[in-house]
């Protein structure tokens, strides 16, 4: 049975959930790539300080724990934090929370830039299957998926800014 998830509807929920998490002077940081799209729209929709480009993007590339088996991901690392981290309340945003390893890597990367006052996590979907003690302060949806399936956020058309969100479920082939 095909999973039906309305990404746009969930985004609306997420927006309100994130609004509730924002402390004064907090900053939004989206996890590359799905979280970055969400952060870009949230920045605009919530009218956060710093303008449309005032949100941060962070990548887990340099701190992943599977470097030994999968090697370094190709291409440029997109981490871009246009604000100081020291003493800031950081709200991390991601599309799907699963094992928690990406969050662990991202938090390590974040701490390379400074010492935040706090870090909270908001996600569109929490699909369970945690392998580390990591939790989202807000999740627009909670569901269980078999380990053989991968859930990812897509943006139409082809990742262009301003496009509508949707979810895709793919079956994992051996990696």
């Amino acid at each position: 049975m095909m999973l039906q998830l309305d990404a746009e509807a969930l985004y609306t929920e997420l927006r309100e959930g994130v609004r509730g998490l924002l402390k004064p002077d907090a900053v939004l940081v989206g996890i590359w790539s799905g979280g970055a799209w969400l952060a870009e729209r949230l920045q605009r929709d919530l009218g956060l300080p710093g303008g449309d480009k005032g949100y941060g993007v962070i990548s887990s590339t340099l701190h992943r724990d599977d470097f030994g088996s999968r090697g370094l991901a190709a291409g440029n690392d997109p981490t871009r934090l246009p604000f100081a981290i020291d003493g800031r309340h950081v709200v991390l945003v991601d599309d799907v929370l699963y094992t928690g390893r990406t969050i662990r890597a991202v938090v390590n990367e974040l701490f390379d830039f400074g010492r935040p006052a706090s870090v909270t996590l908001a996600v569109l979907v929490d699909r369970g299957g945690r392998e580390l003690p990591i939790a989202a302060a807000y999740a627009a949806a909670k569901l269980a998926l078999p380990a053989t399936q991968r859930l990812s956020l897509a943006r139409a058309p082809d990742g262009e800014p301003g496009g509508a969100f949707s979810f895709t479920v793919t079956n994992k082939t051996t990696e």
């Binding site: 340099l62 090697g71 291409g75």
Partner: protein, 320 residues
């Protein structure tokens, strides 16, 4: 003759050793350059370390002295959180007659994960790569006159940084090319990345005709070689050349092939001047040029650390 797989690549075409630029596909070179860009931004952060090589031991095995190259490799490895061991070969057991392969075997028994090797004999890193365990990686920091691939890569990074598009460039390499591993690596990288015009400039004793088989245009006149160049790579002139009856004196070399402001004026107005270092002022390059606005010699050094971080992290992540 059986055709051999390039020993630098595993069966999936991924880089496991960096021995030479020759034979590497363009995609591999480009990926390293892109990754170097990432590390360049890491080097601007307060915390310049990433944990990619944490717990790994990197052994600097320099059979030929070079403090500067060894230092940049050490900095690069440490920024990747590796443990670095520097081996002073002259004082070590090799001087007592231990063979190269015995040295490698002994060090491997100390759980070395990566060897950075500089050796006076062309081809030495290939011998080493053939004899290390599957999980051990080898980086060539310069072998005889054959290759200096990390220098070639950082030179390409420098060119890409200042010129962006390789496909329209004229590059002149000037000096003692026949003895230069930097020149060979640069030539292979430039041809792989699609540079249409590469000129090798110098006297016949230092720039022999059969260099053209590598895809360069041999020029014995500096004026002809520099004219309209976008990039000028000056090579270091070594003193041994005079004793080998290849050149009468440094002074005469400077007169014909030294890069002075007057000669530089023949190149394009926005030409960049590069040099692998250390520079010999007044021998291959005038001080005014080395310190002038066209010179990108210092950025080359900065890029060098990022490029070496990219190389080490790339190969460490691939299995044999």
């Amino acid at each position: 003759m059986l055709s051999r797989r390039n020993p630098q690549l595993n069966v999936h075409g991924e880089l496991i050793h960096l021995l030479s630029i020759e034979g590497l596909p363009k995609a591999v070179l480009t990926q390293i350059l892109d990754t170097a860009g990432t590390f360049l931004s890491v080097n601007d952060r307060d915390v310049k370390k990433v944990p990619l090589l944490r717990g790994k031991s990197v052994f600097n095995l320099f059979f030929e002295n070079s403090t500067r190259t060894r230092t940049t490799f050490e900095i690069a490895a440490k920024r990747l959180s590796a443990d670095v061991i520097n081996l002073d070969i002259a004082k070590s057991s090799t001087a007592k007659g231990e063979s190269l392969l015995d040295t490698i075997a002994n060090l491997s028994a100390m759980h070395a994960d990566m060897f950075i090797v500089r050796h006076a004999e062309s081809g030495a890193p290939y011998l080493i790569a053939q004899h290390v365990a599957p999980h051990v990686h080898v980086v060539n920091a310069g072998d005889g006159r054959h290759a200096h691939p990390t220098q070639g890569l950082l030179d390409m990074y420098t060119i890409r940084h200042f010129k962006q598009d390789f496909s329209q460039l004229t590059v002149a390499i000037v000096g003692d090319i026949v003895h230069s591993r930097v020149a060979r690596s640069d030539i292979h990288a430039l041809t792989t990345l699609g540079v249409p015009e590469i000129r090798a400039v110098g006297p016949k004793t230092l720039v022999p005709g059969d260099l053209s088989a590598m895809g360069v245009r041999v020029c014995h006149s500096m004026e002809e070689g520099i004219k309209g160049a976008d990039v000028i790579i000056m090579l270091r002139l070594q003193n041994e050349r005079m004793s080998g009856a290849m050149l009468p004196s440094a002074g005469e070399f400077y007169k014909s092939y030294g890069l002075t402001p007057q000669k530089l004026a023949l190149a394009k107005p926005d030409a960049i001047v590069m040099h692998p270092g250390p520079i010999n002022r007044g021998v291959e390059i005038a001080s005014d040029v080395a310190d002038g606005t066209h010179s990108v010699i210092l950025p080359q050094v900065t890029f060098g650390i990022a490029v070496r971080m990219a190389v080490m992290s790339t190969i460490a992540g691939n299995q044999a």
